[in-house]
């Protein structure tokens, strides 16, 4: 019995780590660029295909493929900010939403054309390995996911707290106009923020994809889960987002034992709707621009 619970707990952590990586990508962009990126799920999908190509087609070693994916995605994020996001930053939110929706449609369709809709697999050396601890088993890939995610967030936290750019990011998230007046390069910070967000999606793909299949629509459900997390965490508050992600991961991991996956999804949507209605400030945070 205990092993079942620990099993579910660890699965929940792994799922939570995935949600945390994706949701923080959305949250960081919203906090700093004031834009909700509806294409973020497709960033993850795109990263998954890039990772697949590097790992399975080019046959790079796992670590290298993972790093290259993160790097490639960061560059893509920066490029996208420059070409598509910058022109619409001053437009009303509906236009921004639609622009990112367009990117989402484009990426999904491109993936369908390029790779077909048949699910692909990209196994890592750890995919099949199970660690035996006492009387329970846990997938090593999941442990890797949890471990690397933790390291990544610690590193990101340090970056934001200590470095000049990180401080600039915090400043912009608080008061954009003041930053412009003071001479902070807001556009550069926006670009870096997008790069980080996309990079996080890349990391998520490299860590989680060995456990699942790859298809053009894999990002769609995930983006909605990301919204659930971001709303539960309170839009823009980084630490709260991570906690909310872990919470959601655990809730899903435990409920899936008793109900169908469909109902687990409905549960998440209900959580989102419920939070929006009863605690629009999120479970922990204060209202940020919403």
């Amino acid at each position: 019995m205990l092993s079942v619970i620990i099993d579910q707990f660890l699965n929940g952590l792994a799922l939570g780590a995935l949600y945390a990586l994706i949701a923080s990508g959305v949250a960081i962009v919203f906090g700093i660029v004031q834009l909700v990126n509806f294409a973020h799920g497709e960033f993850y999908m795109m990263a998954a295909y890039i990772f697949f190509m590097l790992l399975v087609l080019v046959k790079l070693p796992y670590t290298l493929a993972a790093l290259a994916t993160v790097l490639a995605m960061s560059c893509f994020g920066a490029l996208l900010e420059l070409v598509v996001i910058r022109p619409v930053v001053h437009r009303p939110w509906q236009t921004q939403l639609v622009a990112t929706l367009g990117i989402s449609v484009f990426l999904m369709a491109l993936a369908s054309v390029a790779f077909g809709t048949f699910p692909l697999r990209a196994f890592s050396p750890l995919s099949a390995r199970i660690l035996r601890v006492g009387s329970f088993d846990v997938s090593e890939q999941r442990l890797l996911l949890i471990g690397v995610t933790t390291v990544a967030f610690v590193a990101l936290h340090q970056f934001i707290q200590r470095t000049k750019i990180g401080k600039g990011m915090r400043a912009v998230s608080q008061n954009r106009e003041a930053c412009v007046a003071v001479g902070i390069d807001v556009q550069l910070i926006s670009m870096i923020t997008f790069a980080i967000g996309a990079g996080l999606a890349g990391l998520a793909a490299a860590l989680y994809v060995p456990l699942v299949t790859i298809s053009p629509t894999m990002g769609q459900l995930l983006i909605i889960k990301a919204f659930v997390v971001v709303i539960m965490g309170g839009f823009g508050r980084f630490d709260a987002t991570i906690v909310a992600a872990l919470l959601l991961g655990e809730i899903e991991s435990f409920t899936i034992q008793y109900v169908t996956t469909a109902f687990v999804d409905v549960l998440s949507f209900l959580l989102m709707v419920g939070t929006l209605l009863f605690r629009p400030y999120g479970l922990f945070g204060r209202r940020v621009g919403i």
């Binding site: 939110w93 367009g102 449609v105 369709a109 054309v113 999804d265 709707v273």
Partner: protein
Amino acid sequence: MMPALTRFSTSQPGGWGRAGRLTWWLIVGAALIAWPVLIPSDYAIGVAVTALIYVALALGFDLIAGRVGLLSFAHPAFFGIGAYVAALLALHWGIGFELRALASIVCAVLAATVIGIPCFRLTLHAFAMGTLGFAQIAYVVALGWQDVTRGPLCLPGVPPVDFGFGRWHWSAGSLTDYYYVGLGLAVLVFISVRQVTSGRIGRAWKAIKEDELLAAAEGVPLLKYKLLAFAIGAGIAGVTGAFYASYATLVCPTEVALTYSVNLIIILYLGGRASILGPILGAVLFTALPEYLRVAQEWRLVFYGVLIVVGSVYMPEGIVTWVSERIQQTRTRQRGKDGNGADITTR
């Protein structure tokens, strides 16, 4: 001394004059009615029916997304509810189309009220996300409530559109029949939307869209009017769903999927919002252009994606608005030369 009043009108610039506009409508009307005769290919008529369905949906969606300015993802839920209700009523109880359509409208409006009341408390992105949440719930229900909807197995064999009055009975047989019913539906929707938006309701929506605080100060009950736009749009989607159920004879959970939201958003952002012509143009372009350009099915979405992004950047209001603004600008430039911008103080 009221020359200004006689020129006052709420509709777009009448450069053609009344007779000109009437002639234009007659030509268009004639072409629409004669379409199946002019181009008798089943393929073309099928495309036309799809276009008509999207015209109706887009006009309804524009009420909330264009006129009031609240981007909602819930519309497919209303369309899907309409389709499922009509299909179930027809399959299990053999109910005629008039009652099915009515039931679809009622259910869609109910859903709109249930979704709208909580969601309208939210602003901006939160509203979009709330509607997205509800839409997803609807999709999952359609997929999962197998006892009723048969989930992914769909509801096949939906009876055709049929009208009956006393002893007279007619049911749609051919594709051309469906074209004319669809045309009738689109025309009814067109008239209803025109009616509702040209009066006080449309003006109140315009006010809400531009400045809610000011609208409230002028006495507009915000929630009521937002719900009104939402409900009317939902009702339109519902009856269109009922039509679709019979036309496609098959109702699947994909009818409730996110793709319809994306399609409608593409249509409005392509054609133009807060106008009658915008959604119509968008719907026609969206349906016809890929067919005309013979774009392969898979590349279609790539094409749309690029189109939406480019449109958002360069023509955020859509083609129709962009064009009418250009016309407006040339007119104002001409009027400005008469010099009627003098300040009151020179009186």
